[in-house]
C-alpha cells in the first residue's frame, strides 16, 4: 500500500538551477524508503517537497503532484501547518531549540494549542522511549537541551518529531555528524519505528542505505535512475550507473 | 480554535507589515508638513531677497546667505577636526590597540556620542569660550571656532564607529598578504587596509558631516548668534549664526503663519533636503562597495 505517490514532479529554483526532473515514485507505508545518490542529486529537495518546507526557500516552479493519502499536498490550498504535523522531519545537523529537553519535545504540541500537562508528559515519555533516549535523560528533562551530546541531540530531534505523532518521518542524513555508536542507536530506532511509521531516509553513505532500506531509490542529477526493493537493488542493480555508484566507482 | 489562531496570525502579520511601511509614511509626513509651511515663502519673499546678505526678520530682511555661510564655516571647521581625530581613533581601535584597550575605548567613544549636545554647549559657554577668548585675545570666545571644536567632538563618535566597522570588515587575508611580502604593519594600514575600506571611511566622513550640519543646541549656545556673512578667513574667529540655530532661536517667538514663520520652515526644508542627499549618497556608497566585495568573493 503506497502512503505517498509522487507523479511527474519537477522543481526548479529561482536562480535557474533545476533540482528535480519528472520524478514518479510510490512510497510504501510502514517501511523505510531510502533515497540515495551523489550530492546534488535532488534528494533533499524531494524531501523538502514532502512537507512543503521548500516554501521557505526560493523555489521558482514546481510541477506534478504529490499525493499523501490521496490528497495533493502541492495544492496551494493545502494547510501546510497540518501537513507538517503529519510529516515530521529530522535534519542533518541536530538543531535543538534554545529550551529545555522537555521544552523541545512539547514545542510542536504547544504551538498546536495542547495545554494539558498529562498529555504533554505522556508525549515526552513516549517519544523519548521511541528514540531510545528515555533512560539517558529521564532525570534531567528540565536541563537545557544544548547540554546533551551530539548523538543525544540528534535523537532528541527525532523524538521531537515523534512527539507530534506524525504518519511520515523524513530524515535528511540524520547521522552525518554522529559517531558509529550513536549512528547504530538511530538506525536501531528506525527498525522499531517502521512498524508504525512511513520512513523516508536520505542516508549519509551507501552502506547505511544498504543496511536500512526496505525500498531504495537512486537519484542522479535530479533524475530517478532506479527504484525497487532494497535487497534486490543493492545486490542486483538493473542500471549500470546504479551499479557503478554502489560499487564505489563514482560519487 | 484553529480558525481563531489563523485570525490572530492574520491581524498580527498585518500590524507588523504596517509598522514596516511606517518609516516611509513618516518621511512623507515630515516632507509634507515642512513643504506646506515653507512654500508660501516663495510668494511672500522675492528670491533675490532670500539670497541677500542681511538677516534681520523684524524689519523683514530675510537674506539667507549669512546663515548658509555660518553653517558652512562651522561645519567645515568641524570636519577638519572630526576627520583626523575620527579616522585616527578608528585606525587605532581597529588596527593598533590590543584587545583589552579596544574593549575600553569603544564604549568610551560611544559615551561621547550619548552626551546630550546641550551639555557640550553648556561647557562651551562656561569653559571653552572664556579659554579661547584669553588664548586668542578675542573680544568674545563665542565664535565659529568654538562651535567647530564642539561640533567636531559631536561628529567624532559617528566617524569612529562607521569607519571602525569598515576597517574591521577588511578581510584578514589582505593584511596577511601584505605582511607576507614584507610590509610593516604601518605600511599595511596605509597601503592596504585603509584603501580597501575606502568607501566605508568615506561614508563615515559623510555621516559625520551630516551630523555636524544638523546639530542645533551646541551651535546655538556657543557661536555667538550673529547673523553676519562669513566669507573671510578670519570669520572662524568671529560670531556666526547657523541655519539650525536660527530656527531654534526664533521659532518660539514668531506668529504662526507669518512671513518669518514660513521662512523658518523654508530653512527647515532646506536642511531636510541636505540631510536627505548626504545620507542617501552615503548609504549608496556603502551599498555599492558591498556589492563589489560580493562580486569579488563569489
Amino acid at each position: 500500500m503506497d502512503k505517498i505517490i509522487i507523479e511527474s514532479l519537477s522543481l526548479q529554483y529561482s536562480d535557474g538551477t533545476e533540482s528535480l526532473r519528472d520524478i514518479s515514485l510510490g512510497i510504501r507505508e510502514k517501511a523505510v524508503t531510502v533515497l540515495f545518490g551523489p550530492a546534488g542529486g535532488g534528494k533533499s529537495s524531494l524531501l523538502r517537497c514532502l512537507n512543503r518546507l521548500n516554501d521557505l526557500t526560493e523555489v521558482q516552479t514546481v510541477s506534478g503532484r504529490i499525493l499523501l493519502d490521496g490528497e495533493n499536498i502541492l495544492d496551494p490550498k493545502t494547510d501546510t501547518i497540518t501537513l507538517r504535523r503529519k510529516v515530521g522531519m529530522v535534519f542533518a545537523r541536530p538543531v535543538v531549540l534554545p529550551f529545555s529537553i522537555r521544552g523541545n519535545l512539547v514545542y510542536g504540541l504547544e504551538v498546536m494549542g495542547e495545554k494539558r500537562r498529562s498529555r504533554l508528559d505522556e508525549a515526552v515519555e513516549r517519544s523519548l522511549r521511541q528514540a531510545a533516549l528515555w533512560d539517558e535523560v529521564k532525570d534531567r528533562l528540565d536541563d537545557p537541551a544544548v547540554a546533551l551530546s551530539g548523538g543525544q541531540q540528534q535523537r532528541l530531534c527525532l523524538a521531537r518529531s515523534l512527539a507530534l505523532e506524525p504518519e511520515v518521518i523524513l530524515l535528511d542524513e540524520p547521522t552525518s555528524g554522529l559517531d558509529p555508536i550513536s549512528t547504530g542507536k538511530v538506525e536501531a530506532s528506525l527498525l522499531e519505528l517502521k512498524k508504525q511509521y512511513t520512513i523516508i531516509l536520505v542516508p549519509h553513505s551507501v552502506q547505511q542505505a544498504a543496511r536500512t532500506a526496505d525500498f531504495a531509490a537512486f537519484f542522479l542529477q535530479g533524475e530517478l535512475i532506479e527504484y525497487g526493493d532494497g535487497k534486490e537493488l543493492f545486490t542486483n542493480p538493473q542500471d549500470q550507473r546504479t551499479e557503478e555508484y554502489i560499487t564505489g566507482r563514482f560519487g | 480554535m484553529e480558525s481563531n489562531l489563523n485570525w490572530r496570525e492574520f491581524v498580527i502579520t498585518r500590524a507588523i507589515k504596517a509598522s514596516g511601511y511606517s518609516a516611509i509614511l513618516f518621511v512623507a509626513l515630515i516632507f509634507y508638513f515642512l513643504l506646506k509651511e515653507a512654500v508660501p515663502t516663495l510668494t511672500e519673499v522675492p528670491l533675490g531677497d532670500l539670497l541677500a546678505v542681511r538677516w534681520y526678520p523684524i524689519e523683514d530682511y530675510f537674506g539667507l546667505l549669512p546663515l548658509l555661510t555660518g553653517s558652512l564655516v562651522v561645519t567645515l571647521g568641524a570636519t577638519l577636526i572630526a576627520v583626523p581625530f575620527g579616522i585616527g581613533t578608528a585606525v587605532f581601535i581597529a588596527e593598533i590597540a590590543p584587545r583589552w584597550m579596544r574593549e575600553i575605548l569603544k564604549p568610551l567613544v560611544e559615551l561621547l556620542g550619548g552626551l546630550p549636545s546641550v551639555v557640550l554647549g553648556f561647557l562651551g559657554i562656561l569653559v571653552l569660550a572664556p579659554w579661547l577668548r584669553n588664548l586668542l585675545d578675542l573680544p568674545t570666545g563665542l565664535t565659529a571656532l568654538a562651535g567647530s571644536l564642539l561640533l567636531g567632538g559631536i561628529a567624532v563618535p559617528t566617524v569612529v564607529s562607521v569607519a571602525e566597522d569598515a576597517l574591521d570588515a577588511v578581510p584578514r587575508a589582505y593584511r596577511e598578504g601584505a605582511w607576507a611580502i614584507g610590509a610593516t604593519r604601518w605600511q599595511t594600514i596605509w597601503r592596504v587596509t585603509l584603501p580597501a575600506a575606502k568607501s566605508g571611511v568615506l561614508t563615515a566622513i559623510m555621516l559625520g558631516v551630516g551630523r555636524a550640519i544638523g546639530e542645533t543646541m551646541t551651535v546655538m549656545m556657543v557661536t555667538g548668534n550673529a547673523p553676519v556673512l562669513a566669507t573671510r578667513l578670519g570669520s572662524i574667529f568671529s560670531p556666526v549664526r547657523t541655519m539650525t540655530a536660527t530656527i531654534a532661536a526664533e521659532m518660539g517667538e514668531v506668529a504662526n503663519g507669518s512671513v518669518h514663520y514660513h521662512v523658518l520652515f523654508f530653512i527647515g526644508i532646506t536642511l531636510f533636503l541636505i540631510s536627505l542627499v548626504v545620507n542617501v549618497t552615503a548609504s549608496s556608497v556603502v551599498f555599492k562597495a558591498k556589492k563589489r566585495s560580493e562580486r569579488v568573493l563569489s
Binding site: L53, I81, R84, G88, V95, P98, Y107, V111, M112, R160, S161 | I16, K17, S19, G20, Y21, S22, A23, I24, F26, L29, I30, F33, L34, E37, F85, G86, G88, T89, V91, F92, I96, A97, V109, L111, G114, L115, P116, V119, G121, F122, L123, L126, V127, T184, W186, Q187, I189, G210, I213, T244, A248, M251, G252, L271, S275, L276, V278, N279, S283
Partner: protein, 287 residues
C-alpha cells in the same frame, strides 16, 4: 644598506603608531575629562532638596524636580510609541520583507529618518502634532516627535539582533508545524530580546538628552507644579539646562553644573544599563 632601510621603515612605523595613539588619546581624554569635570563641579550641588524640590527665586535656588519628572515622562511617552512600532518594523524587515524595491525604499526612509536634524523634527512636530492635530504644546506632542526621531535607532539595532538568531531555529520550528508568528514569538523574539532591549535603551537615551525637538512641541520654561496630564507642557532636564545657562542672568554656577550632572547621570545611566545587558547576553549565548 639593507639594515638602515629596514631601520627606517620601523622608525616610520614607530612614529606613525605614536601619532595615531596620540590622536586616539586626544579623542578619549577630553571625553573622560568632560564627565569628571561636571561630576566634580556639580557634585556639591546634589542634595535631597535639589533632587526633590521645586525651583525658587526665579530658578536661582531650590531644586529641579519638575525637570527630572518631565524628562522621565517624555522618555516614557517616547517608549510607549516608539518601542512597539520600532520592534514591529524590525520584525518586518528581518522576518517578512523580501528583497525588492519596497524594502529598499523602507531602508532608505529609515536612513533618512536617522539623518534629519533634530530641530527639523521640532518643526515637523509643531506642524503635525501641535497645530494640525491640535495636541498643543504638550507631553503628548513632544513624545510623539521624539518617538519618530528615535525609531531608526530602535529599528536598526533590533533588526540586527533578530537577524543574528540562527536561521535553523526558524526552519525547525516551521517543520514542527508552527506558524511564522509562533516561530517569531516563541523563539526568535526571546533570543533577540537582550539586543532589542539594548537598542531600545540607546534610542531612548538619545530622546532623553534632546532639546531641539521639544523646544516648540512640549517644553516649558518654568512650571510651578508637575504636569497633570499628557496634554500639559512640561519642564525637561536638557531644556532646563539650556534655559539656566543662557536665559537667566546671574545664575549660580553650582545649580547649572548640578543640573548638567543630573542630566548626564540620567543619560549615561541608561547607557550603562544597555552595555551591561549586552555583554551579559553575549556571555550567556549558547549559539
Amino acid at each position: 644598506m639593507k639594515r638602515t632601510f629596514s631601520l627606517n621603515r620601523h622608525l616610520v612605523q614607530r612614529l606613525g603608531f605614536g601619532l595615531i595613539t596620540l590622536i586616539a588619546l586626544g579623542t578619549v581624554i577630553p571625553i573622560v575629562m568632560v564627565v569628571i569635570y561636571i561630576a566634580v563641579e556639580g557634585g556639591p550641588a546634589i542634595s535631597w532638596e535639589f533632587i526633590t524640590g521645586f525651583p525658587r527665586e526665579g530658578m536661582r535656588q531650590g531644586g529641579i524636580l519638575p525637570a527630572i519628572i518631565g524628562t522621565f515622562y517624555l522618555t516614557l511617552g517616547t517608549a510607549v510609541f516608539s518601542v512597539p512600532l520600532g520592534v514591529a518594523a524590525a520584525i518586518y524587515l528581518s522576518e517578512y520583507a523580501q528583497d525588492n524595491w519596497l524594502t529598499r525604499l523602507i531602508r532608505i526612509a529609515i536612513i533618512n529618518l536617522a539623518g534629519i536634524p533634530s530641530v527639523v523634527y521640532g518643526l515637523f512636530g509643531l506642524g503635525l502634532f501641535v497645530l494640525f492635530l491640535r495636541f498643543g504644546t504638550s507631553i503628548l506632542s513632544a513624545s510623539l516627535t521624539l518617538s519618530i526621531m528615535t525609531l531608526p535607532v530602535i529599528i536598526s539595532t533590533a533588526e540586527e539582533s533578530l537577524r543574528s538568531v540562527p536561521q535553523a531555529f526558524r526552519t525547525v520550528s516551521i517543520s514542527l508545524g508552527a506558524t511564522r508568528w509562533q516561530t517569531i514569538r516563541r523563539i526568535v523574539l526571546p533570543e533577540a530580546l537582550p539586543g532589542i532591549i539594548t537598542g531600545v535603551i540607546l534610542g531612548l537615551e538619545r530622546a532623553a538628552g534632546e532639546t531641539a525637538p521639544i523646544l516648540f512641541t512640549g517644553a516649558a520654561f518654568f512650571l510651578p507644579r508637575l504636569p497633570g496630564s499628557p496634554f500639559d507642557a512640561t519642564m525637561a532636564l536638557p531644556y532646563h539646562l539650556f534655559v539656566i545657562s543662557t536665559q537667566v542672568p546671574e545664575m549660580p554656577f553650582q545649580i547649572q553644573y548640578g543640573t548638567a550632572l543630573v542630566l548626564i547621570a540620567f543619560v549615561l545611566g541608561m547607557n550603562l544599563v544597555a552595555t551591561v545587558i549586552r555583554s551579559r547576553a553575549r556571555a550567556r549565548r549558547q549559539w
